[in-house]
Symmetry: C2
């Protein structure tokens, strides 16, 4: 598990979904959707101890879902639905979901190249520039099921899912030092293993 950067969007998403992954908290949220509610009130309605309500309110607050209005001796808590809606969109569209896998792992330049040359699973075209071509070749390499060795037919079949010209990709892998061929069977070369360790 790679250490996430401080403002990791993944970390924020996970804490938010953790909030929603508990029936008691969902009922608390439902009770707070229309108006501010005070703690004891919530405790009575939900049917748990005030300490438990306080605990859940802290969790909701840490996720940024709470607006609180202190009017001693009461504190009225209300849920901030807009925050919830924004976050939930991150898993509503394929584009946003796809970002979840790459956002923390690759830099902006790499992401840009992938955006430009891939349409979902399909490789639109093979970049001409060396650096861009490397990014694309490595992305395709990452998709390959791990095996000790591959037959040419296996490689062709897998590459074809992304791009019809599997011969070129296969040759580029060899020329780029990602794979090596021996007696008709293909194996990952040192550079290829390095990519897969990323």
């Amino acid at each position: 598990m790679s250490p996430p950067s401080p403002d990791d969007p993944m970390r924020a998403l996970v804490t938010l979904f953790k909030c929603l992954a508990d029936p008691t908290r969902l009922r608390i949220i439902a009770a707070m959707v229309d108006r501010g509610r005070c703690g004891q009130d919530l405790a009575a309605e939900i049917g748990v101890a005030p300490a438990t309500i306080s605990h859940h309110l802290r969790v909701l607050g840490d996720a940024g879902l709470l607006v609180e209005d202190r009017q001693p001796p009461y504190t009225f808590y209300q849920v901030d639905l807009t925050r919830l809606q924004d976050a939930v969109k991150a898993v509503s569209t394929p584009g946003r979901v796809r970002e979840l896998g790459t956002a923390a792992a690759v830099d902006d330049k790499t992401r840009g190249v992938l955006r430009a040359f891939f349409d979902g699973p399909r490789l639109i075209s093979i970049p001409a520039q060396r650096r861009k071509k490397e990014i694309v070749l490595e992305e395709l390499l990452r998709r390959l099921p791990r095996r000790r060795e591959y037959r040419e037919a296996d490689l062709n079949k897998f590459i074809e899912v992304a791009h019809g010209d599997f011969c070129t990709i296969r040759r580029e892998w060899i020329m780029g030092g990602y794979m090596e061929r021996e007696d008709g069977v293909y194996r990952l070369a040192a550079r290829g293993r390095a990519v897969l360790d990323t």
Copy 2:
């Protein structure tokens, strides 16, 4: 914790959000959004043991988020985004969120009355029919912070959040046997306590 009915929508929602509340599962989902991926492939890309991938795929499958395509020796898994989108809408609008609190607790008739006479937190009008009026009075009673006794000013202030004519509501509570008044202070009567135990 009250035992939920077999097809409790709350239970389904919670299991779904539990799926999304884990960084590893989110990355698995991201990897499956464009095309089917086989298990070993996912294990290598995410960086966990195959057994762990299998565990997470079972969780995702139980939540109904998976489409699997067996092509021995591989099994290609893909995420069913439409299921995800549907479920996520349950926390996207105030109306749907509000249902979370009531869906499991009240029957259809009660829910209908609440829908008809409430606009969010506001009581639109006081029903004339006895049964409907009781439902509304009890709903308002449930919103009251729990105290041993209330001053008239306290009651007025709280009722006014929902309805301007607090005098009528207060009087109806007394006449309905929900509260009792003694020496200018109000207390919950037997029927009122019974409602709050619901």
